[in-house]
């Protein structure tokens, strides 16, 4: 019998939230949504191209200046090199810091770091730096490749890359074996370097799953860039208005959202029982489950976005892509609710492990003797409140963002009724999120 670990990383998981909390939050979300619809403004308020108070020139110059940019690139490259060393030469045990770095610090970390710092992955992306160095070294231009990136391809490669990651994290039974992570990263590096050689660095903007994820979440940072390139400070919702729409954006959001929901669902006894009773192998059933959740989000969102009277300038089929940016706050809420304690506690464990990449008792970075602080786990009431607050705040931001965009997209007579579909689907997502946090 093949011995496969049942688990990814991490020890205990969070307790379910109390039913009363889940229900109150769902009711609050419902009430607030309808309040926004009825009471909120009637002309669009958010415009990422023009809004915002410019940051002082000195600060903006520092942020965009070559010294900071090159420092960040080199730090990203150094981190990549360190982890590659642990990946290639390190032992195949769960305490190898590669696993925590890959599944926790990178994947979950993208959310808080991008909320704070904007599209931060782009600034440190080791693949971008390698492409840049190769291009400079051969006297070429990193922005151009053999051909230009076809617009119709849009974000589809990133959606595939993101699905490949969540499959690896949630379904792959060998996810905590070193060989599996080596294979995944080798394929990622290959795809990034070959793609950027062919299409130039636009490839990263549309096909690097981590960069696309970080750039989307970074749209909720209060600091953004106006259409003229100036760094400004403004409402995160004004920043969110600037998400670049391209084919495949709905697929990207569906994978991000559906996978987080599936992650919550797959540990429930009812699902584990169901998987055990099927004749198909568990990996196949879980793959279908993951796919089902992602498709479910894509379909319900698209139908809700299109269930409206249509403006002559915005054909029905374009509506889902033009509205899906409003799911970004919901994704942030779900990710926070689901991964907060995991990030804080398993993240600390990973920082400790990073000092000992060969798992031989070394203390290279000085963190090996630290211990994990389990304060969050020790305060389940606070944790439950924080999770619910994150989901409800994400919901409110999403409803407001969708409302504002609908004011631009919908004809005058449909501006209230045309939003009902979106509103109901968002309440459904939030209620599902709360149910997943609660159910046994």
């Amino acid at each position: 019998m093949i011995v496969v670990p049942m688990h990814g990383l991490g020890g205990a998981r969070d307790l379910p939230i109390p039913a009363s909390l889940a229900i109150s939050a769902a009711v609050a979300a419902l009430v607030i949504s309808f309040t926004v619809l009825i009471v909120a403004w009637r002309t669009p308020r958010y415009d990422a191209r023009t809004q915002g108070r410019p940051l002082p020139d000195g600060f903006a110059g520092f942020v965009d200046g070559a010294p900071l940019r090159w420092t960040l690139r080199l730090l990203g490259l150094a981190a990549f090199g360190y982890l590659a060393w642990a990946l290639i030469a390190g032992p195949d045990v769960v305490t190898n810091p590669v696993f925590g770095s890959f599944y926790v610090l990178l994947w979950v970390g993208i959310v808080p770091f991008s909320l704070l710092l904007g599209p931060v992955f782009r600034a440190i992306s080791p693949m971008r730096t390698i492409n840049l160095l190769l291009a400079r070294g051969t006297g070429g231009n990193p922005g151009s490749g053999i051909t230009t990136y076809p617009p119709w391809l849009g974000y589809w490669p990133a959606s595939l890359g993101l699905f490949a990651f969540v499959w690896q994290e949630l379904v792959n039974e060998t996810s905590t074996f070193l060989g599996s992570v080596r294979l995944w990263l080798a394929l990622y590096v290959g795809a990034m370097l070959v793609g950027s050689a062919i299409f130039g660095d636009t490839w990263f903007k549309r096909a690097d799953p981590f960069e696309v994820y970080s750039t989307l979440i970074g749209r909720l940072c209060p600091i953004g860039r106006r259409g003229d390139g100036r760094l400004v400070i403004r409402s995160p919702l004004a920043n969110l208005d600037g998400v670049e729409v391209a084919p495949g954006l709905v697929a990207v959001m569906a994978v991000l959202f559906g996978s987080t929901a599936f992650d919550s669902y797959k540990d429930k006894i009812s699902w584990v029982d169901f998987v055990g009773r099927q004749s198909l192998p568990p990996e196949v059933v879980n793959t279908l489950g993951l796919l089902g959740f992602c498709l479910g989000v894509a379909i319900t969102f698209s139908l809700a976005a299109m269930a409206t009277g249509v403006h002559i300038d915005y054909p029905r089929r374009s509506l889902p892509g033009l509205l899906v940016h409003s799911l970004v706050p919901i994704v942030v809420g779900y990710m926070t609710a689901h991964y907060l304690s995991y990030f804080v506690e398993q993240g600390q464990a990973t920082v400790i492990q990073l000092s000992d990449p060969m798992v031989n008792g070394a203390n290279l970075l000085g963190t090996a003797n630290w211990s994990v602080n389990y304060w969050l786990s020790g305060h389940p009431s606070f944790l439950a409140d924080a999770k619910v607050l994150a989901i409800v705040l994400g919901h409110i931001a999403a409803v407001i963002a969708a409302h504002d965009r609908c004011l631009r997209l919908l004809p005058k007579q449909h501006q209230v009724t045309g939003q009902l579909g979106m509103l109901l689907v968002m309440v459904f997502y939030t209620a599902t999120g709360l149910y997943l946090l609660f159910g046994a």
Partner: protein
């Protein structure tokens, strides 16, 4: 960033509603939540949490057949849980607490006491057959 009056009203109304509902439901949820969640699943068997010093988990293993499987059990933190394994083959029990514990066992009866320091959901699996025995809700 400027807020017009209707927007400010909406946000204020929302925050008030949220704060009220969380205040009513969220505080003091620890003591009432045990009964809330245990009533949802009929297959969960309660450990005798009233008699806090006698928490037990009995596992019977015959080859690939393990009893119990996929159970949801409530456990108190800070108090020992006695795990008794009666098996006809060697194997390993993995207890996914933070940090994790492993209980190797041989043919016959093995007993181990574990105590959980932090609340959470701890999965107990039999490692060789890759079977989920129980999810322990530690409160």
């Amino acid at each position: 960033m400027s807020f017009s009056t209707p927007a400010a009203r909406t946000v204020a109304a929302g925050i008030l509603t949220l704060a009220t509902s969380l205040g009513v439901a969220g505080c003091g949820s620890d003591t009432s939540s045990a009964s809330d969640t245990s009533s949802t699943k009929s297959t969960s068997s309660k450990a005798p949490s009233a008699d806090a010093s006698a928490q037990k988990l009995d596992v019977a293993i015959k080859g690939e057949t393990i009893t119990p499987t996929n159970k949801r059990i409530e456990v108190n933190k800070g108090k020992p849980l006695t795990i008794t394994i009666s098996s006809d083959r060697p194997g390993e029990l993995h207890v996914h607490s933070s940090p994790e514990e492993e209980i190797p066992f041989d043919k016959g009866t093995t007993t181990k006491q574990v105590t959980f320091a932090n609340p959470g959901v701890v999965e107990v699996e039999e490692h060789v057959s890759d079977t989920l025995i129980a999810q322990l809700e530690v409160r």
